[in-house]
């Protein structure tokens, strides 16, 4: 299934306060991270002095075991968490002083589905579109197109709580795409989906990327990373161990991407660091 080209040809950020002409921004790195460190209030260092850059239009993978610092990094880059140290530029905007501009430029599909369960798909999308400064007409048109593309048109007026997991995930993606984000952060976007639904999502993401959307993906599915990503970083204990193309990494480990992952992060089963459990991720500390 192909996404409608009309929706993807350009990326006009509809936020009236943060309108960006992306055609003028070619050549600019989509994400630039210098010496990012994040220490939580309980002194747990989740991210330890990492630097990397993601090019415009690149599909970038950010892999690592549980508790490695992936989600923390993503929450920092999406403005939900403040970094302890480091300089970060997203879509040409500096994190901190230009958070609103960044928010208008990115979409973030979080690990769980973040929808209003007691509202319909239509209501969910209309609210999101409005919050991003889209006009009523733009919002209705865009919501209709996305619901059509993601095959949710028939259930658009039903409450989301009645949806299956796959339907919720697709609607969540629609909510993230409402405002034509320039950069998409995807935190395990196919977690809990069956193989067919996963493949549908992959196709969507691949098409979006082909049309120019920069992708920043974390996943535990190595096959997903292998199929989608042009480059990968592997992070462990808050530090980036290696960054390269999947092909080069596989070559180096002389095996699959699973072998690469185990090679760089070890064989032991990982759990989230329980010392960090006292810190509610919602608390911006």
């Amino acid at each position: 299934m192909k996404l409608d080209d009309r929706l993807l040809k350009t990326h006009p950020c509809p936020c009236t306060s943060t309108r960006v002409n992306y055609n003028d921004r070619m050549g600019v790195q989509a994400i630039e991270v210098k010496n990012l460190t994040k220490v939580y209030s309980n002194d747990f260092k989740a991210v330890d002095d990492i630097s990397f850059a993601v090019n415009e239009g690149e599909f970038f993978g950010f892999l690592g075991p549980n508790g490695a610092g992936k989600s923390t990094t993503m929450r920092v880059l999406s403005t939900l968490l403040k970094p302890t140290a480091g300089e970060i530029t997203i879509a040409g905007f500096k994190l901190g002083p230009q958070d609103d501009e960044i928010r208008g430029s990115i979409g973030f599909a979080m690990q769980g589905v973040t929808l209003d369960d007691m509202a319909s798909a239509w209501e969910n999308l209309l609210l999101i579109g409005n919050l991003y400064g889209m006009t009523k007409q733009e919002t209705q048109s865009r919501a209709g197109e996305l619901l059509n593309i993601l095959n949710l048109e028939k259930v658009a007026d039903s409450w989301v709580k009645n949806y299956s997991g796959g339907m919720k995930r697709r609607l969540d993606l629609a909510a993230v795409l409402m405002h034509h984000p320039h950069i998409l952060f995807l935190d395990e976007p196919t977690e809990g989906l069956d193989p067919a639904a996963r493949r549908v999502i992959w196709d969507y993401l691949r098409d979006l990327n082909k049309q120019g959307t920069t992708m920043f993906l974390t996943t535990h599915f190595m096959q997903e990373a292998d199929e989608l990503c042009e480059r990968l970083s592997i992070i462990d204990n808050g530090k980036i161990i290696i960054t390269d193309t999947p092909a080069n990494l596989k070559k180096e480990a002389d095996g699959s991407l699973d072998d690469v992952f185990i090679h760089f992060t070890g064989h032991g089963i990982r759990d989230e660091d329980v010392s960090n459990k006292g810190v509610d991720p919602y608390v911006r500390s």
Binding site: T16, G104, F108, D116, A119, G133, Y282
Partner: protein, 256 residues
């Protein structure tokens, strides 16, 4: 205009959240009516007490029923916010390029409207059961104003606990505040008939003045000093609880 539109959409969303599922509205309608019917019948003979100026206890108790409607209809606000936090929906809102106070403001306004709506429904029902309302349109507007302000004030307690603890059980337990604030008032007897420590406690309870303000409107229809004192106290109550809620909100979202 765009910014107003954002608040408007958040307000509509907040109102829908507060009224869905519709079945959950049943207890919010039944509980005040239950209190009203049971107590106005059980304590009917209290009107025979010397110094009791009302001819029917039902008339005396009607504003307590309205107050109960406000308590009950605004009491779930904290839980609704905790749900938004635990499902990640609050993060979805935080990711939008909006001022974050819009989220809280719109939610409170929605709760105020919901309470005002339920209060007016209750008022009609009480009148069907024989309560008199002498306030006319102006009186009704003042009753709705009481409902709107006090609902936001009461929601402020649940909101504060929601932002501080993010725990549904803790937020749910805030319901216990209903008992002292609601019962240690002139709900059962006029102030003149109360004595000792209880009378002092009643005079210290801000809800007493809110209740008396509403009672004055129902009984006489006069918008006088009692009404304005009641509104002033309700507003002060709201300022305190919403300040705490705002502080807790900022503490929970400020990126340290």
């Amino acid at each position: 205009m765009t910014e107003f539109s954002k608040i408007k959409y958040l307000f509509f969303r907040g109102f829908k959240q507060a009224t869905r599922p519709y079945a959950a509205l049943a207890p919010e309608l039944i509980i005040p009516l239950f209190f009203f019917l049971i107590n106005s019948s059980a304590f009917q003979r209290l009107v025979d007490l010397p110094g009791f100026e009302y001819t029917t206890y039902l008339q005396f108790y009607a504003p307590v029923g309205l107050l109960t409607a406000i308590f009950v209809s605004s009491g779930s606000t904290g839980l609704e916010v905790v749900t938004d936090i635990s499902t990640g929906y609050m993060d979805r809102l935080f990711l939008a390029p909006i001022k974050r106070w819009y989220i809280v403001f719109a939610k409170l306004a929605a709760v105020g409207l919901k309470s005002a709506t339920l209060t007016s429904i209750m008022l009609i029902m009480f009148m069907l059961f024989g309560a008199q309302f002498n306030g006319g349109i102006i009186g009704l507007l003042f009753i709705l104003l009481f409902a709107f302000i006090f609902a936001m004030a009461w929601a402020g307690i649940g909101l504060s606990l929601a932002f501080i603890t993010k725990n549904p059980r803790v937020v749910q337990s805030a319901f216990i505040f209903f008992f002292p604030f609601s019962f240690i008032t002139t709900a059962q007897l006029p102030l003149e008939l109360l004595e000792g420590w209880y009378k002092i406690a009643v005079q210290l309870n801000p809800v007493t003045y809110i209740l008396e303000g509403m009672r004055a409107i129902l009984a006489t229809g006069e918008i006088g000093q009692t009404v304005f004192v009641g509104l002033l106290v309700a507003s002060g109550f709201a300022v305190i609880t919403l300040s705490v809620a705002t502080y807790a909100f900022r503490k929970s979202i400020v990126k340290q």
